[in-house]
Symmetry: C2
Subunit: 338 residues, 2 copies
């Protein structure tokens, strides 16, 4: 089943979307918002699955053509947004670039930060920033949406709480990160509003690509219309989504609609190297920081700039048949003037 939220108020209006992402239908008789659906998933999901089947079969007269620009992020806001950093290649590169060892415990204890969930950006909406000097970057990621997850849930139990999957652009202000991390309290200003793919999908939509609590497909990233990366999201995700959800729920209950992210998708080279750009035959990257770190490690200096006002990033994932699964995040950076 595929779901999305039409732009409407603060929480959007829930629609069921056809598998090919071209048509949609409103479902007010079941739930008006995705948040409402998440709060009573077990009751509502079977009815929506039935509508989804009929929508795909062309049986619903009330279906309409879907303009992806009319969509908000699937959850336009959430009470819980936490982002892991499960691709340790990314973490190792960050550390290597500043000559710091990665602690051995990072292989067994996930990194995760709490983000702000009050005003997500729509998938085609501009990324507002007050200054290019903040080092504006994208981070291509995956995320899951859960129903209610009780405290101290095991990874095995957490798997059953993962109801929906989507893509994320975890917008990051790299210039603010060193100062914030040095203060010891983690990210805050360095992690402004994120955006999500137009459509979120149930795990069964991914078929064989959803296994071991991971999505085994490449994540495609374009920067200003040029291929920037297509790293594989599956094999190098050290902690599975069920593991990340269990980490988030270790000391507290998670409320329905909690969004848990994977962290920047990142692959090392097959020979263990730090990962090559697409132009050099590598799979590329899903954030600018990473190519900059590789440049620094290999050449002593970073030459690729961060995003400038007017730059665009496009993040998408295709199935083996080349069909877009979640629709695209496609955003431009603009200057925000108070």
């Amino acid at each position: 089943m595929k779901l999305a939220s039409l732009k409407s108020g603060r929480d959007g209006e829930l629609v069921v979307v056809s598998r090919d992402l071209t048509r949609a239908v409103r479902v007010p008789q079941i739930a008006t918002t995705l948040q409402q659906l998440m709060e009573d998933w077990d009751t509502n999901a079977p009815q929506l699955e039935d509508i989804y089947r009929r929508l795909n079969d062309g049986e619903l007269d009330q279906a309409f053509e879907l303009d992806h620009h009319s969509l908000q992020s699937p959850l336009p806001r959430t009470y819980h947004w936490a982002d892991g950093s499960a691709y340790l290649n990314h973490v190792q590169l960050v550390r290597q670039a500043r000559n710091a060892e990665m602690p051995e415990t990072f292989w067994s204890d996930p990194l995760m930060y709490q983000g702000g969930g009050d005003r997500f950006i729509g998938p085609f909406d501009d990324i507002e920033a007050i200054s290019e000097d903040h080092g504006i970057d994208f981070e291509g990621e995956l995320a899951v949406i859960t129903d209610d997850v009780p405290m101290a849930t095991s990874p095995e139990q957490a798997a059953g709480h993962i109801k929906l999957i989507m893509l994320v652009n975890d917008v990051s202000l790299r210039g603010l990160i060193p100062g914030e991390l040095a203060k010891g309290f983690g990210f805050f200003q360095a992690k402004p509003a994120s955006s999500f793919s137009p459509v979120c999908v149930t795990p069964d939509e991914l078929g064989e690509a959803w296994r071991d609590g991971r999505v085994h497909l490449p994540l495609t990233v374009h920067l200003n219309g040029e291929m920037f990366g297509a790293p594989e999201a599956g094999p190098d995700m050290i902690f599975s989504f069920p593991r990340l959800v269990a980490h988030a729920a270790r000391t507290r209950h998670l409320g329905a609609g909690a969004v848990i992210g994977s962290g920047t998708v990142s692959n090392p080279d097959p020979d263990g190297g730090p990962g090559k750009p697409v132009a050099d035959g590598g799979v590329g990257y899903s954030c600018l920081a990473e190519v900059r770190m590789v440049e620094k490690i290999l050449h002593g200096d970073s030459t690729t700039p961060f995003m400038r006002f007017g730059d665009r990033v496009r993040i998408e994932m295709f199935d083996d048949g080349g069909h877009s699964i979640f629709g695209a995040i496609d955003q431009r950076v603009v200057k925000y003037t108070p």
Copy 2:
């Protein structure tokens, strides 16, 4: 004006509460939840102020006697919960206890972490924890609730976005903090669900005690029925609430209903010492970590234990006439078994 939320579903049911905290009235004709009120404050607040006046004057037949145990936290959940650490005496003590200097920038750049807002605990509800070994602690604080705050709002502008004030118990798991902070991403498992005072109030309810964006009154904390501290919340709050709100909004818009906390209220001694226990003639503390740090600094070792299952903490604030302003947070720690 004083407001609260009756236990009802995930978001509670908004009530206007009398100044003396004994009576309340439902206001479904204006807003059914506090979140709904925050999203259209300018329209709704004047009508509620009128109801508040009539409630205090005994003019409302539909008013009922208010049992504080029937209340949730004013916002039972929120899309944005961020907690500052504006009482630098607390920060200095933490650092002093581990022989670390506090950076000079801490006096000009607020510390703030993003918390989870999806499932706050009610003011009289149990604090569930899975292990006493996690070092269960309370933190007595104040917090404000804002309406929509645009990105890059100045502190001067932020003052006008502060609509309500309340007390917080920022439950902390001290045993998990060193490991999490060492990872560099800030608190996560160490900051489980917080709780808030039964009632939140508009700044005018504080009269002269609300000035310079700070609450100039002592915060009273009892542990297992004994006075543990009554530190002054005003003078040692280095960053005012408007300053903290502006910090939170520097790189993103804050959605209506955002909750911004002050951090643990903490006073140094008048002579500049680290702050004495109540039994030694000091004002005491609003968290256990602080008395433990003082013990360590003065005697080389911490002797006061963290909270054990069955322990109670009570946090309250009184006006100059001895009347409770927000009602009390009064909670017991219990073992949670998955």
